[in-house]
Amino acid sequence: MTGEGVNLTAVSVFVAFVSLSLIITWWAAKRTRSTADFYTAGSKITGMQNGLALAGDFMSAATFLGLTGLVFIGGSDAMIFTLGVTVSWAFLLFAFADRMRNLGRFTFADIVAFRLHPERLRILAAAGTLTVAIPYLIAQMVGAGLLIETLFNIPYFGAVMIVGTLMTVYVAFGGMLATTWVQVIKAVLLLSGGTVLLLLSLGQFDFSLDRLFSKAAEFHPRGAGIFRPGGLYDDPISVVSLALAFICGTAGLPHVLMRFFTVPDAKEARKSIGYAVLIIGFFQFAIVLIGFAAIGILISDGQYVDDSGRIAGGANMVSVLLSRVVGGEVFFGLIAAVAFATILAVVAGILLSASAAVAHDFYSRAIRKGNLSDAAEVDISRWATVVIGGIAIGLSMFFKDMNVGILSTIALAIAASVNFPAIFLALFWSGLTTRGAVAGGLTGLVVVIVLTVLSPPIWVNVLGNQSAIYPYAYPTLFSVGAAFLVTFVVSKSDNSERARIDRDAFPAQVYRSETGH
């Protein structure tokens, strides 16, 4: 694919997307003056728009490219991922949507800081945001750099610079308004592109699922074995750990939680996540079918696959290559450009959550204790965006060879172990105290990092040891469990004056979280 010159469709679609997004940014910049504009677009986004943007946040390169590749390699095993994505969003709707919206204003720290010691919890939440956002940002940017290097023949360095600069411009000038619209447009592009790819692929099998699956079994090196779960996981602890990473991780992602506050009230918040579940659910259907279709089509086509069934450019390229085989050069260019636009929109959202954590939670609330003018805080946010954007570009150069999948899994596991227990217990347990929340958050962070390093993907595959000290691929069952346990025990044994204030304010918090007043 490299060395064949540049795909004109890909370049023109991509240039069109970038131009449109810059016009939106210019338009949004004129409307972004206060902190409320910058962080939440003045809470004026409708349920439908926010639903598309939320779905867009989650349909990252990791889902569209990574999950299709995972189905291609792992067959039925990948279903636990696609199902986990959909179920975790439904859980987010049922358990969190209304209470989160009613309690929060700009970031998820608003929820934990409502009745607990505000400064300490803001610092914890800001740290929790950055430890999730930075690896996530790097994972997406490394993925983008490699994708662009392969598709457009732009060197990795230049590709990362383009992505990093554009995301910084969107966020620094256009804030949440620009970020949301870029995300909405990308979600529509990705959904249409994905649907056409699905239809074209199904067309190769005369729209018969029966033929699609029999061809997959016929051509895959593992034969009908791809229908049997157990290649990626074969014990209940790994299954539960993986499921928890999705369930608790999604509800702990700062850039997703921040979107709850862009709509006017709890009613619209529920509606928007309802739309997000429908869009994501449909997309997961499509991904599983596209992945299985790709087995039959790409392996029998043979052009991009070697004898052992390995795909040229890695499994992440499956959907892009499939589009070339079933749709020709023009459609291939379209999908490649959409994949790039996807990454661009996702990194902008993550960057915004990171800069809100630094400027709002850490600087304005914890350090200056709220004594900062609105205009000054917007300026600080813009500068924080530029600095974090720069750091992300620098780190992405350094981590070029890091496995993108591992990085995003770590980010999700940290979100599940550090942010989720504090948010969940703050919302639903009257006994939570400041000391308990801080102790639990730190425990979650330490346990998740230690177990990740000791687990097979890093201890064996990266560090080259014989066998892993922690035998399961996913740390979440134990790290989330430890965080909950420590939070519970420390809160229970906390007899400080602060603990009394924390517990006494619970009824007021319930009132606000149920009514919004």
């Binding site: 959909t86 439904a90 579940v277």
Partner: protein
């Protein structure tokens, strides 16, 4: 804000909170339970999951998985409809 605790005693509001909490935990419990059960069963009944679903080549485990995705989507529609109705959803404070 300080009178939030007292206003919480309003019997109408109490009933709304109870209804909403019932919806919240029953819906969450069902969807999470079904997902975990499906995942854990995959470990023990792998051959059944790989077997054709009613004479098709579509594997049974995948077919059930597709149904769970559909269930999550349907439950979400029902949940939003129910909670956004008057009496269960949000309302203006009485005072």
């Amino acid at each position: 804000m300080s009178n939030g605790a007292e206003r919480l005693n309003d019997p109408d509001l109490q009933q709304i909170i109870r209804r909403r909490s019932l919806l919240r935990w029953s819906f969450s419990g069902v969807i999470l339970g079904v997902y975990l059960l499906w995942g854990i069963c995959g470990v023990y009944f792998a051959d059944f999951y790989a077997a054709p679903f009613f004479g098709n080549t579509l594997p049974t485990g995948l077919a059930i998985g597709f149904m769970i995705i559909a269930l999550a989507m349907i439950m979400s529609i029902v949940y939003v409809r129910l909670t956004n109705k008057v009496g269960v959803g949000d309302r203006e404070p009485s005072a």
